[in-house]
Symmetry: C2
Subunit: 762 residues, 2 copies
C-alpha cells in the first residue's frame, strides 16, 4: 500500500483553469478608480553626475499629476532616526538603485518618474524633463574595475572582508578568503594537478512578465501595493526602509506572478509608484517595458574563475583551489559567498582554498538568478574536474564515484552535510537508460556533470481554516511562484484525509496573513510545506478535541480517518468530520483555525546529475543538444508533475545560459536589450528533457521533502561543454558557447590556446 | 487610576480619514475588467401568475450578454440532493423571494435579470422582455389576509405553531401561544385593568447605500462576490443553498457598507448577479435604485396589537396579555417571536399571556430593522403602561420603579435574566438633569418610556497577528457596520499594552478568515469583541513563551507590561516586545498568530430609558421634539463616542418611525417609493439627542460589554406619545403620529374614540 494518498501524485494545478482561460489576475490586470499611469525617466549614460533636473515643463503638460525625483525621498537621516540607526549601507544602496541620487551608475538608472492620466501623456512628459549630466567614463567590467586607476563608482566603498581594510576606497565590494585544511600541502601530495580559467557572461532571468505594480496611498499615509513580487513580506520590509513608512502601514497584495527566478525579490518600480501616488493623491500603476527590464533590473552575475584541482593517481582528490571574481553591477551584492559553497560542493576534498571578489561596475546591479552564482562556478569547476579525470584516464562518472560527498562530510565552508543524495543520483546515472545507450559517431559527444545547491529554509507560516461545510482552506502570504497552492492542497488533503476538491488554498496580503518569507531559495515546499503540515496537524488536533466533547470521551481516545472520528475504546461511538465541522460555528469550543509556523530548519541540500548528448556541426560550430537527462534528488516529490516541470524549466534556462544568452555591452551601453537580439532558447533549441527523480529523504521537515527549484539550472553548461569536448576535442572555457565561439575553437584547436571571444565582439 | 488605558475612550475611528475623504471603497466603486451591468425586471403587479416570459427580443439587443429567469435556477431537487435533503421551506422561499417562480407576490418582485455592456442597454433590454400575467387580487394587509375567503399567497402554507395544524392552508405563517403563570387569575386579582389597541406602519431602514454587488464566476464554477452585506458568511451560506454551489466555492469579499440596520442580512441581487455572471462568462455588477430598495427589499413589519395589563392599587402589576399580528409581507418570517420577548421585557410580571401571528400579504417580505419587532410592540405596551399608571394616579417613572425586572426574574418566556440594568437606567432618570428640569407651559408635555432588547451573541472568530516590527494586526471576517474596527483596535491595544497606532485592523473575505457571524443583533462588540480579546490574550501568551526562551526562564515566570517582558525572579532580566517580535521571523518558535473564537455566550440584555419633551402646535398638529435624552446601559462603553453615535442614530430612526415614516400602499402598489414622498426625519426634525451611558457589567464576556446598537430605536415613539398626551390630552394609538393624525385626534378628543387613519388615507 502506498504511504501517501495525495502526496507523490501528479494532481492538477489548482490554478490551472484560471491560468489557461486568462482569468488569473496578473499585475497588468489592475484597474483602480482614478488610476494614473507611471513612467520612469532613465539615464542614457552608464556613468555620470547629475548636475540638475528640471521637470517644470513636464508638470505643465495637461494630464501630468506628479513628478518625483530623489529630492522627494525621505532623508536618510530621518529614516535612520525612525529605524533606530539601522539604515545600513545596503539599504542606502537600495534607495540609490531604484532612484539615482547624485550619480547615475548604469544605463537605465532611474532619474525621475511621472504619473499622468494616460501612458502616452506620461511618456510625452518624460521627454520634457531636462537633465544636465557630467558624463564620466564607464567601468565596463570587473577586471577593469579592479585596476588601481579605475574610475570609482562609489567614492566611499570599502570591501566587506574578513581581513584588513584597504587604505583607499575602490570598486571591490566583497573580498572572501577561506581555507579549510591545508591546500598547499594537498597540492604537494597530488600526483596530478590541473589548472583552468573560465569566463561567463551576464544573463537575465527573462521572466515572461515584466515588473508591474500599482499603489494607492490613503490620506493617513497607509499604502496598498499590488505587486507581482516573489515575496510580499520582503517587499513590505524593503519599502518600509526605503520610504521610511512604518511596516504596518504598508499592505502588500500579491498578484499572480509571471515568473521570477530570483529576479523579483528586490523591488524596482514599487517605491516610485508609491511616491507618485503620495504626491498625486491618486492610485498609480506602473509597468516596465522589456527594454527597461533588460537594462534596469537585476540579471545574473558574470564571473571569472581560475580553478586548480589536484588528485592522487588513484583518482582521489587531495586539494582544490578557486579564485573567482564576480561582476555585481553598480552596487555591492554579488554571488561570491554562494558560488563558493556551490563550487566543490558535490565533492569530498580534504583541503580547499577560496579567493573571491565581488566588484562593482557600471551595469545594473545583479540579482539572484535561480541558484544564484551556481551555474558559472559549476561550469568552471565541473569542466576542470573533467580535464582532471581525462588526465587521470578515468571517465567523468567513475571519477565522481570516487570523490562524491556524503553525510557527515564537510561542505566547502566549515559546516557538515546532513543526509544528502549525491551517491543516489550517481547510482541512478550508472543504471540510467540514457547513460547505457551508446551515443556514437562523428561530431557526437556525451557529457555529464554534477550540480549542487544548498537551498534555503527560512521562516514560514500558514493557517488552515476548517469551514462549516467540512471543507478546509489553507491561508498564507506565500506567493505561488512554482505551484505552491497545489502542493499546499495536497499536504492539507493528506493530513486531514479529505478529497482534494474539499481543500481551497488562498494567498492573502501582508495585512491579513502571518509573516512568511518569500518564494525563493528552494525554500517553499520544504519550509512553507512544513508550516502547512503543522497547521493541518493543529487543525486536526482541534477537530479531535471537539469530536471528543461530542463523543464524551477524552481527546486522546479519539481516532480519526477519512472523515470519521471514533472512540478508541468503543469504535461504534463515532461522529463525522462534517458534523463536527458544522458544530464548530454553533457551539462548544468554536471555530477551528489551525496554525503552523517554522524557523530554523536545517538545510535540505539538492543534488543533481545531468547527462547531455550533443552533435556539433563542424561547418558552423552549431551545437545540437540531442538528448538530455536530469537526475535529481527531490527528497519526496509531492507533485511529480510540478517537480518535472521545474527541472525542465531549470535545464532549459541552463542551456540558454550555456549556449546563447549574454548581455552585449558596448562602452557601458547594452546593445541587445530586446528579445530579437537577446537569444533565449526556443523549443527548437532544446530536446525533450527527461527527468528521473531520486528520493533521499531530507534530514528534517515532514515527508523528507527537499526544494527542487534551483539546482537544475546549475550543471547544463558543464555537461554540454564536456559533450562538446567529446564531440570535437575542444574545451570551451567561456560562456555562452555560441556557434561562432565553438567554430573558432575548432578552427584553432591545434594552435596555441588563446582567449576566445564568446560574445563575437573581437 | 483608571482601570483601562484604551477602553472607555473616544478614540478616533480607524476608518475616519478614508471615509471623509471618499477613499473608502464601497460596492459602487467596484470596477472589474470586462464587467457587465445587471438590471432586474420587476413585477408591476402585487399578485399575479406568470404565464409566460419571452426575452428573445432582449437577447437580440446589441450589448446584451445574458438574461436569466427562474428557469436558470438549479432545481430544488438537485439542491435537496446536494444538501442532503436539507433544503427547507425557508430556503425555498428565499429562492422565490429573490426571483419569482410561478407567481409574483409583491410589486417589485424580480422576474428576470439582464446583463449588458452598459447600464443603459440593460435598462432598454428590460423593456423588450414580454411577460404575460394573470393578475390576481392583492392581499393588502394582515387583517384581510386572515379572513377565511382571502386569496392565498402560497396554496401550501400552514402556520408554524405549537398547537394543532389547521385543516386548510392559509396566509398565517406563524402562530404563537405562550403563557407563563396564570393570566386569568392575575387579571382577577388586579384592582385596575386597562386594555388598549394599537397599529403601526411598515417602515424602511433607509440605509444610505442601496444594495450593490459584483460577481465573477471562474471556469471551474468558483464564485467571487463583492458585496455590502452585514455578514459575509451568512451571504456565503445563503448563496450556497439558493444556487446549489458548494460553500467553499463561494468567496464573499466585504466592501465598506453604507448602513444596514438589519436590512442587509439577507441577499437580494446577489444570486441574480452570480447567475448572470455564470451565463455571460464575465463579471457582472448590480446596483439597486432607491425605488427598487423601497419596493423590493425588506422593510420593518407593521403590526396590530391589543394589550391588557392589570395591577393592584399599590401599583404592582399582576398580569399582562398581548395579542399581536404582524404583517410579514410575501413570505413567512415576521418578528412575532422577538416582539413577544420585547413586549413586557422591562417588567417583573407574575403572569403573562401572549397570542401572536405572522401573516403573509402581497408586500415585500419584511426583514430585521434594528431590534426587529421591538419598536411597534414597545410603543403599544409602554403606552398601555402609561394609561395604567395614569389610572393608578402615579407618574410613569414611579410606576416603573415599582415594577422593573431584575436579575433572576423571568423574561416573557421561561428564561431568567442574568445581570441587567433596568434599575440603573431608572435611577439615572431620577437623577438626570433632564427629568429634573421642568418642562411646562401650554401644549408642552414630557414622556418617558423604557426599552428592552435581548441582543444576540452567536459565534465569532478573530486572529491577532504579531508583525515583525512589533505592530499587531487584528484579522477577521467581521463586517464593520458600527465601528468594529475601532473597538477591535482598542481591545488589542489594551490587551497587548501597545499604542493604538501600532494596531491595524483588517476585514478579510470568507476564503481567508475563520467563520464569524454577521454584524447584527447587537452581537458584534459583545461576542466578536470576546473573540478579539481571546485572540489578543493568546498572542500575548505566545509572545511570553518566546520571551521566556530568550530570557532562559519558565514562561510562567515572565511578566509583561508596556512593551517589556521581564523575569519575575530577576526583574533586570528583560527583553523588549519589539525584540521578541523581530525574533519571531528569524528563530525559535516562529511567527505569532493569536486566535480567538467563541460560541454560546449568554445574553447581555440592553435596557434604555428615554425622555422626550414635545411642544405641539394645536393649529396644525405638528409635534416638535424639543429635548430628548436617552439613558442606556452599555455594560462598558469601549468607545463612548461610537456608543453615543449609535444611540443618537437609533433614537433618530425611532423618531422617524414614530412621527413620519410609513409605506403608503394603494391596492397593493407602493405610492411613496422615493425620498420625496417617504418622509425620513431630517436634522430639523430632531433636537440634539443627549446620551447618558450607564454601565452595569454584563454577566459574561470580557469587560462587561453589552451590545448597544439596537435598543435605542425601541422606545422613542412610546416616549413621544406620552409627551403628546401630556401636552394635548390625547393618546395616539397609531403610528406614525403625523401632524394630520395628531390634529385629528385633538379635534375629536372629546368625541367617542374611533380609529385614526395615520396614513391620512381615510
Amino acid at each position: 500500500m502506498p504511504k501517501y494518498k495525495y502526496l507523490g501524485k501528479a494532481t492538477q494545478k489548482v490554478d490551472a483553469l484560471e491560468r489557461v482561460t486568462g482569468k488569473a489576475a496578473f499585475g497588468a490586470d489592475i484597474h483602480l478608480p482614478g488610476m494614473l499611469h507611471g513612467k520612469v525617466l532613465r539615464s542614457p549614460h552608464p556613468h555620470a553626475i547629475i548636475k540638475a533636473i528640471d521637470y517644470g515643463m513636464a508638470l505643465k503638460l495637461e494630464g501630468v499629476k506628479a513628478v518625483v525625483t530623489s529630492k522627494d525621498l525621505p532623508s536618510l537621516e530621518d529614516a535612520r532616526a525612525s529605524f533606530g540607526g539601522e539604515v545600513s549601507i545596503d539599504q542606502e544602496h537600495l534607495r540609490k538603485l531604484f532612484l539615482a541620487h547624485d550619480k547615475v551608475l548604469f544605463e537605465g538608472h532611474p532619474i525621475a518618474a511621472v504619473a499622468a492620466t494616460s501612458l502616452e501623456i506620461a511618456e510625452q512628459a518624460l521627454e520634457l524633463i531636462k537633465v544636465e549630466y557630467e558624463v564620466l567614463p564607464p567601468v565596463e567590467d570587473a577586471f577593469k574595475a579592479m585596476q588601481p586607476n579605475a574610475p570609482l563608482l562609489h567614492p566611499y566603498l570599502y570591501p566587506k572582508t574578513l581581513g584588513q581594510k584597504p587604505k583607499n576606497p575602490g570598486n571591490v565590494a566583497t573580498i572572501m578568503f577561506h581555507e579549510r585544511g591545508d591546500a598547499e600541502k594537498g597540492f604537494a601530495e597530488a600526483d596530478v594537478v590541473v589548472e583552468e580559467s573560465f569566463e561567463t557572461a551576464m544573463v537575465h532571468q527573462v521572466y515572461i512578465e515584466p515588473q508591474v505594480d500599482a499603489a494607492q496611498v490613503e490620506e493617513d499615509g497607509k499604502v496598498t501595493l499590488w505587486t507581482a513580487n516573489q515575496g510580499i513580506f520582503n517587499v513590505q520590509s524593503q519599502l518600509s526602509s526605503i520610504l521610511n513608512i512604518p511596516l504596518g502601514s504598508i499592505n502588500v497584495v500579491p498578484m499572480e506572478i509571471g515568473g521570477g527566478f530570483g529576479g523579483k525579490i528586490i523591488t524596482y518600480v514599487e517605491s516610485l509608484t508609491i511616491m507618485l501616488s503620495q504626491k498625486a493623491g491618486r492610485p498609480v500603476k506602473m509597468v516596465m517595458s522589456r527594454e527597461e527590464v533588460f537594462k534596469a533590473t537585476g540579471p545574473g552575475s558574470p564571473g571569472y574563475f581560475t580553478i586548480k584541482v589536484g588528485a592522487k593517481k588513484n583518482g582521489k582528490i587531495t586539494a582544490a583551489y578557486i579564485k573567482m571574481i564576480h561582476d555585481c553591477g553598480a552596487f555591492p551584492g554579488g554571488p561570491t559567498p554562494m558560488a563558493s559553497l556551490v563550487s566543490f560542493g558535490p565533492y569530498n576534498i580534504p583541503s580547499i582554498k577560496v579567493d573571491g571578489y565581488d566588484v562593482v561596475t557600471n551595469k545594473p546591479r545583479v540579482q539572484a538568478y535561480r541558484a544564484p552564482g551556481g551555474t558559472p562556478v559549476n561550469f568552471s569547476v565541473e569542466s576542470t574536474m573533467n580535464v582532471l579525470a581525462d588526465k587521470l584516464g578515468v571517465d567523468p562518472l567513475k571519477f565522481r564515484m570516487q570523490n562524491y560527498a556524503k553525510e557527515g562530510d564537510y561542505m566547502v565552508n566549515d559546516q557538515r552535510y546532513n543526509r544528502i543524495g549525491v551517491k543516489a543520483v550517481l547510482d541512478r546515472v550508472v543504471s540510467s537508460s540514457h547513460w547505457n545507450t551508446p551515443w556514437e559517431g562523428p561530431n557526437r559527444g556525451r557529457g555529464m556533470a554534477l550540480g549542487f545547491w544548498i537551498g534555503a529554509a527560512g521562516t514560514s507560516s500558514a493557517l488552515v481554516l476548517i469551514n462549516s461545510d467540512g471543507s478546509a482552506t489553507g491561508v498564507s502570504g506565500q506567493v505561488d511562484l512554482t505551484g505552491t497552492r497545489t502542493s499546499t492542497q495536497q499536504i492539507i488533503a493528506e493530513e486531514l484525509q479529505m478529497p482534494l476538491e474539499k481543500v481551497n488554498v488562498k494567498v492573502g496580503d501582508t495585512d491579513s496573513t502571518p509573516y512568511t518569507m518569500g518564494s525563493f531559495g528552494s525554500r517553499t515546499t520544504y519550509s512553507f510545506g512544513t508550516a502547512v503540515y503543522r497547521a493541518s496537524r493543529d487543525a486536526l488536533a482541534q477537530m479531535k478535541a471537539r469530536a471528543a466533547t461530542q463523543l464524551k470521551v477524552n481527546p486522546e481516545d479519539v481516532e480519526y480517518a477519512e472523515g470519521r472520528f471514533w472512540s478508541k475504546k468503543d469504535p461504534e461511538k463515532a461522529v463525522s468530520w462534517n458534523e463536527v465541522a458544522r458544530s464548530t460555528i454553533t457551539r462548544g469550543e468554536g471555530v477551528v483555525t489551525g496554525r503552523g509556523t517554522v524557523t530554523g530548519l536545517g538545510h535540505a541540500p539538492e543534488f543533481t546529475a545531468q547527462i547531455a548528448d550533443v552533435e556539433v556541426d563542424p561547418e558552423t560550430g552549431k551545437v545540437y543538444v540531442k538528448r538530455f537527462t536530469a537526475i535529481q534528488d527531490a527528497g519526496l516529490a509531492i507533485n511529480p508533475m510540478q517537480v518535472e516541470g521545474q527541472i525542465q524549466g531549470g535545464v532549459t534556462q541552463g542551456i540558454g545560459w550555456g549556449m546563447s544568452e549574454y548581455y552585449y555591452y558596448d562602452k557601458g551601453k547594452l546593445r541587445n536589450a530586446s528579445f530579437l537580439d537577446y537569444r533565449m532558447p526556443t523549443s527548437l533549441d532544446v530536446p525533450m528533457i527527461d527527468i528521473e527523480i531520486v528520493e533521499v529523504p531530507a534530514s528534517e521537515g515532514p515527508y523528507g521533502v527537499r526544494g527542487v527549484g534551483e539546482v537544475s539550472i546549475v550543471p547544463p553548461p558543464a555537461a554540454i561543454a564536456e559533450a562538446i569536448y567529446r564531440a570535437t576535442g575542444v574545451r570551451m572555457n567561456k560562456l555562452p558557447m555560441t556557434p561562432e565561439a565553438v567554430l573558432w575553437a575548432i578552427k584553432t584547436k591545434d594552435k596555441e590556446r588563446e582567449p576566445v571571444a564568446a560574445n563575437g565582439d573581437s
